[in-house]
């Protein structure tokens, strides 16, 4: 049966291999029926886990396990519904096939465990207590063989079968409560013991995983150690290749070598690092233990399919470019795309990813916030450091010029591409409006032509016998300096495009738009953006219908075991939605909710829409007031058609119940008697700190139409929440 399944999977893989257009790479989408893991209510999942707790356990242990499942199911549910976890796609199916391969004939285990991929660039995999193995795309991108993936899955299987997550929770709970061996022990002792406990789990997962599953599966045993070496350098990109600045250059636009480091910093990662307080043992110790188990070089690197592995690896690497953009890791997005472009030098998706990153960087630079998205090159190791240094060295406006130059070159290669057009217009606007640069600021002829002209001028000055005059010397020096090109390399940025009517007219049009703008005596855009408060109160938007993206409430409680009041959070989320419905009826605004938890489940299309919308909204919120195009913007038109609304809202509430200092308040009550009613009320109610947020975005333009963040020191009571929700909705509806 499993062989048939594997064959079926392979058929599906090959179908997808041929269907992917890498130039127009589409983000990975989930395929098929949405699994119950995503749609089942948290309480229901928790209840079914709770029911499995042995009734023979002592009450204390029972409560501890109950607390564990309450917390574990909550966090898994949050992870599953954050739009990053996928099912049924090529990579997930491939991982599942490899997992089936190593599990072999244990059908019971096969039924209780499943794999999902996570759209995260982090090199990581994790197993949950309820039998889900999460594999990050960052890990898939770094793997070199299927055998390495098989070892990781074997390792995670042991974490699941040996209930490591539950054991670790129980141990941490004992530490927290100072029970058993932790009674009256110092914090250092507790930390040390916890670290040892966790490390033992890792050794156990390595060794048992190797012996129980990996060794028997037929994969090459060396892969177990190879993967540890991959983990050692996991903080680096998937490859280390010297960065070539020529990807930004053209015939006349050459970035001076002074913008580059003479030597990049060496890679310092070692495998024998200090792991005293770490949850994982150091890699050298793990390698040593595994080496003792390896019995030779026999076995295969690929048992399911090498071609599908390569395809998945390529997909993961392509997806990384997008994920880095979404997470504002622009330099990593450029370097990742640069690495991939070596095999596909004119790939539209990869070049567009670089264009998006350059656009975002230039926008952040124009707002003097570049440091927010550009880590210090001194903290970077390896060849990518060169790129960090280069971007850091570019002076004011040079990043905008570089961005426009790159995007226009891309536009020339893909003239009918709508998305590239949008970025081209934005880059033009950025150059003219934000940097006040015009066509006249750039040279129209090449550096060589300028040199010839310089020499001609010198000759003519000599011929006219004015070569020794003051004016002649000034002119001559000026031309000499300009033609040397080292200082004003950016002035040659558009020489290649000066014969190009499309470029010249577009720039001139933007200039006249800017002139009109200035003529209207409006302050320059840069200042206007700062002055205009997009987040001002009492906006009147005149919108009739909006869509809410899963709105959540979170209740934190200092008394709760791990700080979260799970049941209250769940109940309040439901109530909050009801308040939104009630208030929307009052203001006559059509609202709909798009979320995972719906009676009868959701369909695959809704699932994929939810995922891309969550990613879009997350990125948009991260840009805050920066008017930057959201990197997933190009996928939004089809999403808008499917969801039937261009306005998306994200709202929620966080309430923290804190500890109260009773003594101080009693004294205060006695001193300030007239304030007694308030002080008594203060005494009997807990200390609260709450935050409520509401965002409304236009998916078409990326504009933040409404963005409110309210902080208040009371409970998230019905009147407070309704009052805020109404105030948001009335602003949306009213003209």
């Amino acid at each position: 049966m499993s062989k048939i399944l594997n064959l079926l999977c392979l058929f599906l893989f090959s179908h997808f291999c041929f269907s992917q257009d890498w130039n127009y790479y589409q983000p990975i989408k989930a395929v098929g029926k949405v699994p119950k893991d995503f749609t089942e209510a948290y309480f229901s999942k928790y209840q079914s886990e709770k029911d499995q707790v042995s009734s023979e356990l002592k009450k204390k242990e029972k409560n501890r396990q109950d607390d564990f499942y309450k917390s574990s199911e909550y966090f898994i549910d949050q992870l599953l519904t954050n739009g990053k976890v996928f099912y049924g796609d090529t990579i997930t199916n491939y991982c599942q096939a490899v997992l089936n391969k190593i599990i072999g004939d244990d059908d019971e285990l096969k039924k209780s465990i499943r794999v999902y991929t996570v759209k995260s660039p982090l090199v990581n995999a994790t197993a949950s207590a309820n039998g889900i193995i999460f594999i990050n795309l960052g890990l898939i991108a770094q793997l070199e063989t299927e055998a390495q993936l098989a070892f990781i899955l074997s390792h995670e299987l042991i974490h699941f079968t040996n209930k490591h997550v539950l054991d670790q929770y129980i141990e941490e709970d004992k530490v927290r409560k100072g029970e058993d061996i932790f009674k009256n022990k110092s914090e250092d002792f507790k930390l040390d013991e916890l670290s040892k406990y966790s490390k033992n789990h890792e050794f156990e997962a390595d060794e048992d995983g190797f012996k129980k599953y990996f060794e028997k599966s037929g994969y090459t045993q060396r892969a177990a150690v190879e993967i540890l070496e991959i983990l050692q350098y996991a903080y680096l990109p998937f490859d280390v290749v010297a960065f070539d600045k020529s990807i930004f250059e053209n015939e006349n636009f050459i970035i001076p070598n002074s913008y580059l480091l003479e030597k990049v910093s060496t890679i310092k990662a070692v495998d024998d690092y200090d792991d005293e307080n770490s949850t994982h043992p150091n890699l050298l110790k793990r390698k040593k233990r595994l080496n003792r188990l390896i019995k030779g070089n026999q076995g295969e690197n690929f048992l399911v399919s090498e071609s599908v592995f390569k395809h998945c690896q390529k997909m993961a690497r392509f997806e990384l470019s997008r994920l880095f953009l979404v997470e504002k890791n622009y330099i990593e997005a450029i370097y990742n795309s640069f690495l991939l472009l070596r095999n596909d030098s004119n790939n539209r998706y990869l070049r567009l990813s670089i264009a998006k990153a350059l656009h975002a960087l230039s926008m952040y630079e124009n707002e003097d916030n570049l440091s927010e998205v550009l880590p210090s090159y001194k903290d970077i190791e390896g060849d990518s450091q060169q790129l960090y240094y280069l971007i850091d060295q570019l002076g004011e406006g040079e990043l905008s010029i570089l961005s426009l130059n790159y995007i226009y070159q891309l536009k020339k290669d893909f003239p009918n591409d709508k998305t590239i057009d949008i970025y081209f217009n934005r880059a033009l606007k950025c150059l003219v409006f934000e940097n006040d640069l015009r066509l006249d600021d750039f040279y129209t002829i090449s550096q060589d032509s300028l040199k010839i002209r310089s020499n001609d001028l010198k000759d003519s000055l000599k011929v006219n016998k004015v070569g020794n005059s003051k004016i002649a010397r000034i002119k001559s020096k000026k031309i000499e300096k300009e033609s040397s090109g080292s200082e004003n390399f950016w002035k040659y940025a558009f020489v290649d495009f000066m014969e190009d009517d499309l470029f010249v007219y577009a720039l001139e049009d933007m200039e006249s738009e800017y002139e009109d703008y200035l003529a209207a005596e409006i302050k320059p855009l840069k200042n206007r953006f700062r002055l205009r408060n997009r987040y001002a109160s009492s906006r009147s938007l005149g919108i009739d219908s909006i869509l809410f993206l899963n709105s959540n409430c979170l209740n934190l409680d200092y008394k709760a075991n791990d700080g979260i009041s799970y049941s209250e959070s769940e109940e309040n989320s439901t109530k909050y939605k009801a308040y939104i419905h009630e208030c929307s009826d009052l203001v006559d605004l059509n609202v709909a909710f798009i979320d995972y938890k719906r009676e009868g489940g959701i369909d695959n299309q809704t699932f994929n829409n939810l995922a891309i919308l969550q990613s879009w909204v997350r990125e948009r919120i991260n840009h805050n007031k920066q008017n930057i195009l959201v990197s997933d913007g190009e996928y939004m038109d089809s999403v808008i058609d499917q969801i039937g609304s261009r306005y998306i809202s994200k709202t929620g509430n966080i309430t923290i119940k804190g500890k109260k200092e009773i003594g101080v308040r009693v004294v205060r009550a006695l001193i300030f008697l007239p304030f007694a009613p308030m002080i008594i009320e203060d005494l009997v109610t807990p200390n609260y700190q709450s935050f409520n947020y509401f965002y409304l975005f236009d998916l078409k333009t990326g504009d933040a139409l409404l963005s409110e963040f309210n902080s208040y020191e009371t409970k998230d009571s019905e009147d407070v929440l309704k009052s805020m929700v109404y105030s948001y909705l009335i602003q949306i509806k009213e003209d």
Partner: protein
């Protein structure tokens, strides 16, 4: 000044052009206010003894709020209270049979409420008010033949009040508030320097001063509870 007053008065109506939420669109609150404070000296009761004991002084009233902004409302109030003159002060002019004349007082207030944390009318807020209070002796305690022919003893006072309150809304309609108020009253005649004619041949100023003192003492500080209805 005229302009300022006009703008102040017109503001509630001008502000209707914006998206003012109120509470679920309701922007008017009519409330019944109950103010009280345990007091050593001034009470509502006739029982004026020299014993030092804490007695309750109180006043009732109604108020109307109009929410004009997210954190701003206009408020107007009307309240009624009564107290008694001090026996010693009233015992003058040979009429030793006078018994604590009763003072009745009507107060009118107008001002603003500034909401500090939540949207009006919720949460903690400051109340700033201008006050007008008219107090008069409603029952002199004289025998009838003496009262006849005596001009009414009437005192007008202006003042200001400041309050700190907290409000909650229940059932989307009922506003429950609690807090405290501080009021300071000045005699209108003192402010306007009006030389009022004596009512009695002797001691009318003493009587008036007594009324002022009593009212001021009574008005100085209150704990306040109010229950309102959102319109």
């Amino acid at each position: 000044m005229k302009k300022f007053i006009l703008i102040f008065l017109a503001a509630p109506f001008l502000s209707q052009a914006q998206s003012i939420p109120g509470y679920l669109g309701k922007r008017q609150v009519v409330s019944f206010d109950f103010n009280f404070i345990p007091s050593f000296v001034v009470t509502n009761n006739e029982d004026m003894t020299d014993d030092i004991a804490i007695k309750m002084t109180y006043k009732n009233g109604i108020s109307y709020d109009f929410i004009s902004d997210k954190s701003w409302s206009y408020t107007g109030s009307l309240d009624f209270t009564q107290t008694y003159m001090e026996a010693t002060a009233a015992d003058f002019n040979g009429y030793d049979h006078i018994r604590n004349p009763k003072i009745s007082s009507i107060g009118i207030g107008a001002g603003i409420k500034i909401y500090l944390q939540h949207l009006a009318p919720l949460g903690s807020h400051l109340e700033l008010k201008l006050l007008y209070r008219n107090s008069y002796v409603s029952d002199y305690g004289f025998e009838e033949e003496i009262v006849n022919g005596i001009e009414e003893l009437n005192v007008s006072q202006l003042g200001f009040g400041i309050g700190y309150m907290k409000s909650r809304v229940f059932n989307d309609h009922f506003v429950f508030s609690y807090g405290m108020n501080l009021n300071m009253l000045l005699s209108l005649s003192d402010i306007l320097f009006i030389d009022t004619a004596p009512i009695f041949n002797l001691g009318s100023d003493v009587l008036k001063d007594n009324i002022k003192t009593r009212i001021q003492l009574k008005e100085t500080i209150y704990m306040k509870f109010s229950i309102g209805y959102l319109l």
